[in-house]
């Protein structure tokens, strides 16, 4: 065994044993107590507070660094390392003591440095600073979850401010408001107790139950008290229900299954109360409050979030149980406490059943008995009563004073006084002692007239009141209708006040009387009359009554009364429905009324200028509007409209139908109304027929490039065949392609294009013709028409596409004309056509130097024809695409040359820039050649359009 041990070779230093560490610690403790003083210097170890050997730095040898555990060498402190002043001149760095201190030493130093101690740190700045530093330090020591320095705002001051401390000293406690409320609330409580005792003495009948309810009422009524509560609760109590489960913070296991929460709670409470309370039935909690919105049993995927659309519109329901339809209870507006109390009574707490017979019954107070001799109308005991007696003899009828103002004033005042009583007159006489205008009160100018007026008014009033009293002695308790009140108040229907306001306004309007005001701000009583006269709900008197009430409220100026207690028996929805009905009925009545109003308004246009009836006139207009709307909405349904709709060719193919738009223009912009569509229809039809005709020519030209004469001869003969082809030909040869790659529209798209291009060419020719005529120059006629024109026109077609739809329609109108002309000219014969063609070709010659390019383009055209259709025609709008495809195969040189040319063209036709922007840079060559022609044509077209 011993020999075995000898064979071992040890490498490295063995790890220190536990004992050693322990012993070292002991040593450190001993050292701290000064025992180590006796050791020789080299044996002494510098340790930190925890007894660990202090580390001096790796470069100078680890733990036993330096000379006798100093940082320096035997020669003393090592000089500072040399730094070249050439490289950093300003680097005369000052050393400070902190450069030589360790972290903990620095901390010590800092502790000694002057700063506000936490005790006097009123605003917590220093504390915050300190804690920040602390955290920073910590940050350096160990990496935290959040890299980088902690944001300042996360670190709160650790200590309280001096203010808080002072408050605490003064007896303030956390969670309470600073305001001293305890005493007052105590006093209040005492007072309440006393009051309660008092009240119970009085009403010994009252059970304790009612006492409780009363106090509740009181507390809710007492604003001061509730305010107190609010204040004392202003600082939130943080831990209301301490966390007792093992779930993560904020995790609610019953979030989507609230019924289980109830169950659990009941179980818990059952455990606690040892069966005192019987656990809630599962069913009740499940189907009582519907809080879970998602359908039971399934949710949505984990990665999807719950949207509005995931709301279970069908609601939570029970699959096995029968569905109980809940009766919708109308939400009663509970203004008074009584109501709330009773509703609370019905609302039984979960787990409690409503008692069948309660010993507590709400005490009912009978309404006070009305004395038999009580008259509901208040009679003024004062001068009004005295004056209302029509005992006074009538003053003599006096002509009104000449001054219109005065007359008006007197009249108004008389009305007012008759209504308010003599007291008012006395008052105003006193008030307007010095006012010249009120001389008539003191027997001055117009006094006689005033007396007369006053008498008249009083006469009228007494008559009216007598009348109303006679007619409705019993209904006087009821609320008066506006009509009655109006007549009582002596209000005139609007026409009368109109005149008055007219004159008064013209004279400055400094005395507007309440009468006028009320007149202008409420609907005229005549409306009411009409509404009353028309009884839309005759069959249901209650409803009719409500309707009248509604009308009143609708037209009454000022605040709406919210008195709906009478209708409380109706559900919310029923009320809403009824309201709608009422609105409709009122509108209907108004409509009938509107005519009259309008007539009246037109009779007195000046009155409106005077501003007296502006409110009502506005109302009239509104009524008219609603009437119109009503008329519109009452137009009979169903209404049929027709639009053009373009099915995609593939759709037609899939449905095995011929494409109705085969060989026609691309889909037109959607007609906005019926008229448009009607106008548009024949237009397109004609255009289409024109295409087909022209297309046939096109085909001919393709075949016979070099013999224009022959072409012209053949043309008319062969046309019908092509026409039929265009319409009915089945592009069966393209079928394979279609199905194979899902690309569409080739065959008939091509036809489309051809047709459209021909149309464009024809139009262009026409334009040229007219242009020539206008400018009065001869157009050379001997340039043969070449194949190359075709692509250009295709381009022109594609170019016209991006133009706005608004441009398009007038354009089309132009087209239509052109096409008609064209068709007629076509029928006229070949000669005319020939000449036209020659004219059309002429500008190309003028542009000059494009022979080469044109021939080239014709070659291009042929190659294009050869190249697969798939590439060329992707879809309706892939014109530029296809051309670019085609171009990639083209020669680079010619392309660049064309580009140059194009740029020059673009400069020239700057006015067409907007359309050119849509054009691809790599547009096909041949188009460029003819772009000048085209530009001219287009400018011409524009000009013509403008002229039109």
């Amino acid at each position: 065994m011993a020999s075995d041990e000898e064979d071992f070779v040890f490498h490295g230093t063995p790890i220190e044993r536990e004992e050693e560490i322990v012993s070292r610690k002991k040593k450190a403790v001993a050292g701290a107590s000064g025992n180590l003083r006796t050791l020789p210097a080299w044996k002494q170890e510098v340790t930190d507070e925890e007894g660990r050997r202090r580390f001096h730095g790796a470069f100078t040898g680890g733990y036993s660094a330096g000379y006798y555990n100093t940082v320096g060498s035997k020669d003393g402190w090592a000089p500072q390392s040399f730094t070249s002043s050439r490289k950093n001149r300003a680097g005369a760095r000052k050393q400070s003591i902190s450069d030589f201190l360790d972290e903990d030493e620095k901390a010590d130093m800092e502790g000694q440095s002057l700063s506000a101690s936490s005790q006097f740190d009123t605003f917590g700045f220093t504390a915050a600073e300190y804690s920040r530093k602390q955290v920073e330090k910590e940050q350096h020591e160990r990496p935290s979850a959040i890299p980088g320095p902690v944001p300042d705002e996360l670190i709160a001051p650790v200590s309280e401010s001096i203010g808080v401390k002072l408050l605490l000293k003064m007896g303030w406690r956390r969670g309470h408001s600073i305001k001293d409320v305890r005493a007052s609330s105590d006093a209040r409580r005492e007072a309440r107790k006393a009051f309660l005792a008092f009240s119970t003495d009085e009403n010994t009948k009252e059970t304790s139950d009612s006492m409780v309810s009363e106090t509740e009422v009181e507390t809710s009524l007492d604003p001061q008290f509730s305010e107190d509560i609010k204040i004392s609760e202003s600082i939130p109590v943080y831990v209301l229900n301490p966390k007792q489960d093992l779930h993560g913070l904020g995790y609610d296991p019953f979030k989507h299954a609230p019924e289980f929460r109830e169950k659990k709670r009941s179980r818990l409470s059952a455990n606690k109360e040892a069966g005192f309370r019987k656990p809630l039935s599962m069913k009740e909690s499940l189907f009582g409050p519907k809080s879970g919105k998602t359908a039971p049993g399934f949710g949505i995927g984990a990665l999807e979030e719950l949207d509005v659309e995931d709301e279970d519109v069908y609601g939570g329901y029970d699959f096995d149980q029968t569905y109980v339809i809940e009766d919708e209870q109308p939400a009663k507006p509970s203004n008074d406490n009584r109501l709330r109390l009773t509703s609370k009574e019905h609302d039984v707490l979960p787990g409690f059943g409503a008692a069948k017979n309660s010993d507590y019954s709400m005490e009912r107070f009978n309404p006070p008995t009305i004395p038999k001799d009580f008259v509901a109308r208040h009679k003024f005991a004062g001068p009004l009563e005295a004056e209302s007696k029509p005992t006074l003899s009538a003053p003599p009828d006096v002509p009104p004073p000449a001054d219109n103002n005065l007359k008006l004033l007197i009249e108004g005042f008389a009305t007012f006084v008759s209504r308010c009583g003599k007291l008012y007159e006395d008052l105003s006489r006193e008030k307007n002692q010095s006012n010249q205008l009120f001389d008539f009160l003191r027997g001055g100018n117009g006094h006689e007239y005033y007396a007369r007026r006053l008498w008249e008014e009083q006469q009228k009033r007494s008559d009216q009141s007598k009348l109303t009293l006679d007619v409705k002695p019993s209904s006087s308790v009821q609320k008066m209708t506006a009509e009655e009140r109006g007549s009582l108040l002596g209000e005139k229907p609007l026409q009368r006040s109109l005149k008055e306001t007219d004159t008064s306004a013209s004279s400055g309007g400094s005395f507007q009387f309440p009468t006028n005001l009320s007149d202008t701000f409420t609907k005229s009583a005549s409306t009411q009359e009409a509404a009353d006269a028309v009884k839309p709900f005759k069959d249901d008197p209650a409803k009719q009554e409500r309707f009248e009430q509604f009308l009143k409220e609708k037209y009454k100026g000022g605040l709406r009364s919210t008195d709906f207690n009478r209708v409380n028996s109706m559900s919310e929805s029923a009320r809403a429905q009824e309201r709608l009905d009422f609105e409709a009925a009122a509108e209907a009545i108004e409509k009938g009324k509107a005519y009259k109003e309008v007539r009246r308004a037109t009779e007195r246009p000046l009155d409106f200028l005077a501003g007296g009836l502006q409110f009502t006139s506005g109302g009239t207009e509104q009524i008219k509007d609603t009437g119109v709307v009503d008329m519109k909405s009452s137009t009979t349904y169903p209404k049929r409209e027709e639009f053009q709709w373009r099915p995609s060719p593939l759709l037609c193919k899939r449905f095995d139908l011929p494409d109705p738009f085969m060989g026609k223009l691309p889909p037109a912009p959607r007609a906005r109304n019926k008229m448009d569509s009607l106008i548009f229809l024949p237009d397109t039809v004609k255009a289409a027929s024109a295409h087909q005709v022209s297309e046939s020519q096109e085909h001919k030209k393709e075949t016979s490039i070099d013999e224009p004469e022959v072409e012209v001869e053949v043309e008319n003969v062969e046309r019908p065949v092509d026409l039929y082809k265009a319409i009915f030909s089945d592009d069966s040869e393209d079928d394979e392609d279609h199905v194979m790659n899902g690309k569409i529209q080739e065959g008939q798209e091509k036809k489309n294009e051809a047709a459209a291009s021909t149309l464009n060419r024809l139009i262009a020719g026409d334009f040229l013709e007219s242009l020539g005529k206008e400018l009065g120059f001869e157009v050379p006629s001997d340039v043969p028409y070449q194949e190359g024109t075709k692509p250009m026109e295709e381009e022109s077609k594609s170019r016209s596409k991006p133009e706005g739809s608004s441009d398009k329609r007038p354009d089309r109108a132009g087209f239509k004309q052109k096409v008609e002309e064209k068709t007629s000219s076509l029928t006229l014969g070949s000669e005319e056509e020939k000449s036209r063609k020659q004219k059309e070709k002429s500008p190309r010659k003028r542009s000059g130097g494009n022979d080469l390019s044109s021939s080239e383009s014709s070659g291009d055209e042929r190659s294009k024809k050869r190249s697969s259709k798939k590439d060329r025609y992707r879809n309706n709008d892939s014109e530029s695409d296809s051309s670019s495809d085609y171009h990639s195969r083209d020669k680079q040189g010619s392309r660049s040359r064309r580009k140059r040319r194009e740029s020059s063209r673009e400069k020239r036709s700057s006015h067409k820039k907007h359309s050119k922007h849509h054009r691809s840079k790599k547009s096909s060559s041949s188009k460029l050649v003819y772009s000048s022609d085209e530009d001219r044509k287009e400018s011409k077209r524009e000009k013509r359009r403008r002229r039109d």
């Binding site: 069908y314 209404k639 409209e641 593939l650 449905f655 959607r670």
Partner: protein, 300 residues
Amino acid sequence: MSATAELPTKEAHVLKGHEGAVLAARFNGDGNYALTCGKDRTIRLWNPHRGILIKTYKSHGREVRDVHVTSDNAKFCSCGGDRQVYYWDVSTGRVIRKFRGHDGEVNAVKFNDSSSVVVSAGFDRSLRVWDCRSHSVEPVQIIDTFLDTVMSVVLTKTEIIGGSVDGTVRTFDMRIGREMSDNLGQPVNCISISNDGNCVLAGCLDSTLRLLDRTTGELLQVYKGHISKSFKTDCCLTNSDAHVIGGSEDGLVFFWDLVDAKVVSKFRAHDLVVTSVSYHPKEDCMLTSSVDGTIRVWKK
């Protein structure tokens, strides 16, 4: 009541299996099978005449709102809240293709006669036509002239008819390239076409079914009595076009006489909202589905 005798008012089977609301129940082409779909994101294939569940198709991410089977019973399509139209193989239960493109929930799908395209009606106010023949997943056509959610779509041999919440029933005729818009003034919930093809029945959200003449757009008849205000409930006609059938939100099913709009029969089919009513293509047999999670088969 001889009229009611020929109506399928006797419950033959109750098909249970869906968890949650069943949103649509459709017979297949020959009426031997039925496909249903619902809020539980599944589509189920049943034999309604024996009352057994044959297969369950799961792939939808959200509720499935409509399903339609091809005439050869080989494929079917479905749509739903996940904004996609699924094209399924019946026997393998695999999704052949998913058509994405609708910007909202898809309310209805239909195959055309030759089952070459699927037309879907979406919340995004559009009808989209998807090609089943090619491998393209792009819509063949997007019809977006509707002003509001398209609730229902019906195809004839030559037309696409869509009913929308904007109150219109729009007929897109492919032969003449015209769109006929019949404004009913009320949100259209469901449309179905009479078997003679001359009329279209539109269920509106004012608890009214309206029968329109297709050629003129005239309102031929109005059927009332049921409740249809907030749910998508179906309506259809019997095979003889003698009666109009409509589901009600209170769980009843109504039968009206086509001509005089009288309620011939009504009975409680479900406890909750009747979401879908489907009539057997040949026999007097009817499927109803409901929010209560059941599908019921009704026979004479």
